[in-house]
Symmetry: C2
Subunit: 331 residues, 2 copies
């Protein structure tokens, strides 16, 4: 990593391979899973889910990593820090980032554990219910944060899921500190309403003091402030971060920045297949705009465009060039 090149965004997150299948709603119920959310499970529990799934498709995943893949698809120079094991899934994960030109700053651990997996059940309404076995991803340490990589990036993008592991949380804080020390911005995605509930006080502190750009969906931002009403949460968050991009599924998104409030439409989708990665790709589009000096409305529209691409197929990462898709918006 001696390349002194400037990066738009570096992501820090759980390096996971997604194991996806289409299933009936009955399976979600039978497995006792919470529809639409991510449940962190141990090895035994993930094997139980796997055994209940029909034939699966394996693709690289991980929330922040998906966003980084999306940014690369827009043409951004991007990096990722996360931990994979010395196995096939680890090689798949690394290959799929490197194939996009992403600087992959994760260390491949030797024998300390398997690459993490996210088993995803996609129901007929295209909702995704996730079960994650972190494997060696949970072993991300502050030392794994490549400081030079972080210092070179305009934005360091962190996923809230990291907070579920103490060491990864420290790595997260370490990355944020390096970014700020280098005069860079920190972006955070709240990841999941249950994740927010688990770490509410710490997230509140982060959002107020250590995050310049916040991504959250409606449920997550309400969970953060313990409000039932989205508008109340919106009024609160605008005082706490420079920019907040709040997604609302098919109702689009609201972008707030101080006095500015922009309501952005969702991009219509011909055929809704799988919502996995919709939020991740929204963040990719938004961050692409932000790091290229676009106004917030364009940032939001780029987010909507990338999210619409993601939900039209199985899996969380773009299947077509986002750069080509966004050409009319980028001019």
């Amino acid at each position: 990593m001696s390349d002194p090149e400037e990066l738009e965004v570096v992501g820090v997150g759980n390096a996971l391979v997604d194991v996806l299948s289409h299933e009936d709603d009955a399976l979600v119920t039978k497995l006792g899973l919470e529809r639409g959310v991510m449940t962190m499970v141990d090895h035994e529990a993930v094997e139980r889910v796997y055994a209940a799934q029909g034939p699966t498709v394996e693709v690289s995943g991980g929330s922040a990593a998906n966003t980084i893949a999306g940014l690369a698809s827009f043409g951004a120079a991007a990096g990722f820090i996360g931990k994979v094991g010395p196995d096939e899934f680890g090689r798949v994960f690394a290959h799929d980032l490197e194939a996009l030109g992403v600087r992959f700053g994760a260390t491949s651990s030797n024998g300390s554990g398997p690459t993490g997996r996210c088993h995803i059940i996609v129901t007929p309404d295209a909702e995704r219910t996730m079960c994650t076995f972190l494997g060696v991803a949970s072993d991300l340490q502050p030392d794994d944060v490549d400081e030079a990589l972080v210092a070179r990036a305009q934005v360091t993008y962190l996923e809230g899921y990291l907070f579920d592991q103490p060491a990864a949380k420290h790595a997260f804080r370490q990355a944020a500190a390096v970014a700020h020390r280098s005069g860079r911005r920190v972006a955070l995605t709240l990841s999941d309403p249950f994740c927010v509930h688990r770490h509410r006080d710490e997230f509140l502190d982060l959002v107020e003091h250590a995050v310049e750009v916040l991504f959250a969906n409606e449920e997550e931002i309400c969970a953060l402030y313990d409000f039932d009403d989205f508008d109340d949460a919106l009024q609160r968050v605008r005082r706490h971060t420079d920019v907040a991009a709040l997604t609302r599924g098919k109702r689009g998104s609201v972008v707030v920045a101080g006095d500015e409030v922009h309501v952005i439409d969702a991009v219509p989708v011909d055929r809704l297949v799988d919502t996995t990665g919709a939020g991740d790709q929204y963040a990719a589009g938004f961050l692409y705009g932000l790091t290229h000096g676009r106004d917030l409305v364009t940032c939001g529209r780029l987010g909507s465009l990338a999210a619409a691409e993601a939900v039209g197929h199985l899996g969380p990462r773009p299947e077509t060039s986002l750069r080509a898709l966004a050409a009319p918006l980028l001019g």
Copy 2:
């Protein structure tokens, strides 16, 4: 495997995981690959292909295994014999058959090698160009043939690709011998024109003396008899096997059995995405019909139907229930 249940079909073949990506034609040329065919390569060469691929999707593959998965999707009781390694890809392969209720008779080898991979480049015309690193699949031995499983199946389905490895060839012959000894039928797919060229004399001998049902596409059957003209090859093969199902891509198929010759239309496809698995799924439909006492025209139509499903999406195995899709034909 003490279950005395009767199976419709047991497949014997290379257990592979497919690693697929959409690429431009230029990449096929740059890699020096033969468009539309399967090239067997060593580990170093497959890594070179992988490094040149963009982000990939991983799904279970293997020609005969794809056919068995298709049969299970039709609702048939089916089994498979092949060899995987003790790694993620091996677990993926086994999971995806077991999830369909397929009896998986392969031994998982310990430490003798990685699970085989087939790297597939899908070009914009939906043609697939394949590079296979067999890994431990090449280690299939006569002893791995579960004789009880073979004896229980109405049809033993063998892929020609097995002939590329001496031990696997013996396993192939062993399975055919057990099937005949049990009063069962043997089906063979010629797999690939280059595979036929490599083993022409042996395949000719097999087709004349040890195969009751033959699957081949136009190029393969012409290669077998060293004819340029499909009709000449057709006249020859009808004297050599009980039933031959000869596929011709979008022109459908011709089924010959003694004096009978049936021309079967292809099922129109809305959007041709990836031809990977088209022949494998044709065989699945055909064998489903054959083992359920259907006439040869219906067998061919079931084949066309299954092939049409396969080419409408990325990857070689059905994404929707072939049983449901075939309901109008099955009555």
